[in-house]
């Protein structure tokens, strides 16, 4: 009986609960680690402050960013501000911001040689991977939400809540404009998460933070060049940069939402492939040296 007790004492709770609990434990652990990192905090701070600085800079000049959608309304309606920021951010800033964490979240364990430290604790590789992946995805959502909310607040506070002229020329009342701005920002979450997945994959595969952070940005820029070049339509619809512009359809009359759905589907595809690939690499990897 005593022998059985001893054996029983070593057995953890039911596996399914332990797995879910384990992922959550890793998620909280990684979050605690990220919160202590200067880089992560700086990016969050930048997301909050940058829109205010942007509006302040706009107010000091009389010209408007004409080449951007809604650019010419930035002095007339505060709601144009978050849309102009979204136009810029979708091109490279959001992929870069989310990659700051995603691109380094696995590579940092290589840099510090700490894989063998964390993989010899009581969590499985699957749990470590899932927890870290969830933390990176959360960070992607957080920076997007912060940047979007801060741009909206900066626009409304510093320019005002005048009605916005839609793309078909109709005037959008403040309430409607707010809803559309929020919907537009929400619509870039899928591609942001897809770029997060790309960062995760490069982080695992490259074992190098610079590659993980810079890689998605470069890939994003290349895709953008591709979308400007004369690529065949099927290829163009598969580019991860296209969903960043899908929100334009919300501001036409009548709105067309097809690109939003298609963009979300393409983004989901990228995310699944990248995260699946990253896990396949990490699962089989031997931890030696370093």
């Amino acid at each position: 009986m005593t022998a059985l007790d001893t054996a029983g004492a070593a057995v953890r709770p039911a596996p399914a609960a332990a797995v879910r609990g384990g992922t959550l434990v890793v998620y909280r652990w990684e979050a605690a680690k990220l919160v202590r990192q200067v880089r992560t905090r700086l990016v969050v701070l930048a997301c909050v402050l940058a829109p205010f600085l942007f509006v302040a800079a706009l107010k000091m000049q009389t010209t408007t960013p004409q080449d951007t959608l809604f650019g010419r309304w930035v002095h007339d309606s505060g709601f144009a501000v978050p849309l102009v920021v979204l136009g810029f951010a979708g091109q490279w800033a959001l992929p870069a911001l989310t990659s700051v964490v995603a691109g380094d979240i696995f590579a940092c364990e290589d840099r510090h040689g700490t894989w063998r430290t964390i993989l010899t604790r009581s969590r499985s590789r699957g749990q470590i991977f899932a927890g870290k992946t969830l933390a990176a995805l959360t960070y992607g959502v957080v920076v997007t939400v912060l940047l979007g909310a801060s741009s909206l607040v900066a626009g409304v506070l510093m320019v005002g809540h005048q009605p916005l002229v839609g793309l078909s020329g109709t005037l959008l009342a403040p309430g409607h404009a707010t809803a559309l701005v929020l919907a537009s920002w929400a619509s870039v979450l899928p591609p942001v998460l897809a770029f997060t997945g790309l960062g995760l994959l490069l982080s695992v595969a490259g074992r190098n933070g610079a590659l993980g952070i810079g890689g998605p940005v470069v890939i994003g820029l290349l895709m953008q060049l591709g979308s400007m070049a004369d690529l065949p339509v099927p290829v163009r619809t598969l580019l991860l940069t296209t969903p960043f512009g899908a929100w334009h359809g919300l501001f036409t009359d009548p709105p067309f939402r097809g690109p939003l759905l298609w963009g979300a589907a393409v983004s989901a595809g990228y995310l699944v492939l990248c995260v699946g690939g990253a896990y396949a690499l990490l699962r089989r990897r031997d931890i030696t040296g370093g």
Partner: protein
């Protein structure tokens, strides 16, 4: 609970490896190794550089995947039980690594968070045992090798292990640190914890371990208890200088159980003999009118055996000359 008895037999060995093998890019690191470590045993893994010690320990810790063989830790396998195969298993391979931008204590807190359970409550005692002292408040980036080693031991103790795996735990430690590690290992073993530790140094292992596996090129050149190893040990090797080495060599040829050879540099003689035979030889030298100027132990009996088994080191030439040495205790 019902599955506990079937998964983990009542007296499962801490480690039970059979035919464990691993290659890297075609080069053999571990070649079909058997290893059993019982509860409360201190098991030494000794071998020269590249013998495969770290690779073997990495496989036990689930860091490196074996190409072949079976491995059970307290009756559980990595394949069937995942992370639970490491329940009660702690340790590190190569120099332990931590987040350099955090203090030693913050690193332990982070790891305790990963472990969950009551790991956090063991931080203070683990730090105390590790002897890290005030350094625990400093950032790990500024740690010396020995301090990191101590933190590695503290991190392992957080898991309240029943099997402790240590890869060259005393490398980089000062003499006091080595003494502390030896005392800790002894104490844990007294509490029934199985300890598997690797080392280059036969002499270090001799005083500490109950069992020993001598590894060479991925294989076990010896596997047994320390007492069995001592029984197999050849004569120790001494370095001798005399007033007339030429004549001293002549005196030696007429004796059994004694191997005398000229050192490569011609400056001294190497003598392999049991203590009694050595006494006789020295007396014989005196009788022949040859003065002994220096006589010093060069390689202890166990070290000699280690070199014999692993085919390296200074004893090589002497062994080759005389393979049929008598057994000599100690």
């Amino acid at each position: 609970m019902a599955d506990a008895s079937s998964e983990a037999p009542a007296v499962a060995a801490a480690v039970e490896a059979r035919g464990l093998a691993r290659r890297f890019d075609g080069a053999v690191a571990v070649a079909g190794l058997d290893l059993t470590v019982g509860p409360g045993r201190v098991h030494g893994l000794v071998g020269p550089n590249g013998a495969g010690k770290t690779t073997l320990l990495s496989m036990l810790l689930g860091l490196v995947r074996p190409d072949a063989g079976t491995l059970r830790l307290f009756g559980r396998t990595h394949g069937e039980h995942g992370a639970r195969a490491r329940d009660g298993v702690a340790g590190f391979v190569e120099a332990p690594r931590f987040y350099p931008y955090l203090t030693g204590r913050a690193n332990l807190e982070l790891l305790a968070g990963l472990d969950g359970g009551d790991a956090r409550s063991r931080i203070a005692s683990a730090l105390e045992v590790s002897g890290l002292g005030d350094a625990a408040k400093a950032k790990v980036g500024g740690y010396s090798v020995g301090m990191r080693q101590r933190l590695g031991i503290a991190a392992s103790l957080l898991r309240d292990p029943r099997l402790l795996i240590l890869d060259e735990p005393t490398s980089g430690l000062d003499p006091a640190g080595m003494r502390d590690v030896a005392a800790l290992v002894r104490r844990l073993a007294g509490d029934g914890v199985a300890v598997l530790l690797s080392s280059h140094d036969m002499d270090e292992v001799e005083g500490l371990c109950d069992d020993v596996t001598i590894m060479h090129a991925g294989r076990a050149a010896f596997d047994g208890t320390m007492a069995e190893l001592r029984d197999r040990a050849p004569a120790p090797e001494f370095l001798l200088t005399t007033s007339d080495d030429e004549k001293a060599l002549d005196v030696a040829t007429s004796s059994d159980g004694l191997v005398v050879a000229r050192e490569a540099d011609g400056e001294a003689l190497s003598v392999r003999a049991a203590r009694e035979r050595l006494d006789e030889y020295v007396i014989a030298l005196g009788r022949a009118g040859i003065a002994v100027r220096t006589l010093a132990l060069r390689t202890s009996a166990l070290k000699s055996l280690f070199f014999d088994l692993t085919g390296g080191g200074p004893a090589d030439a002497a062994t080759a000359a005389e393979p049929t040495l008598e057994k000599v205790p100690g």
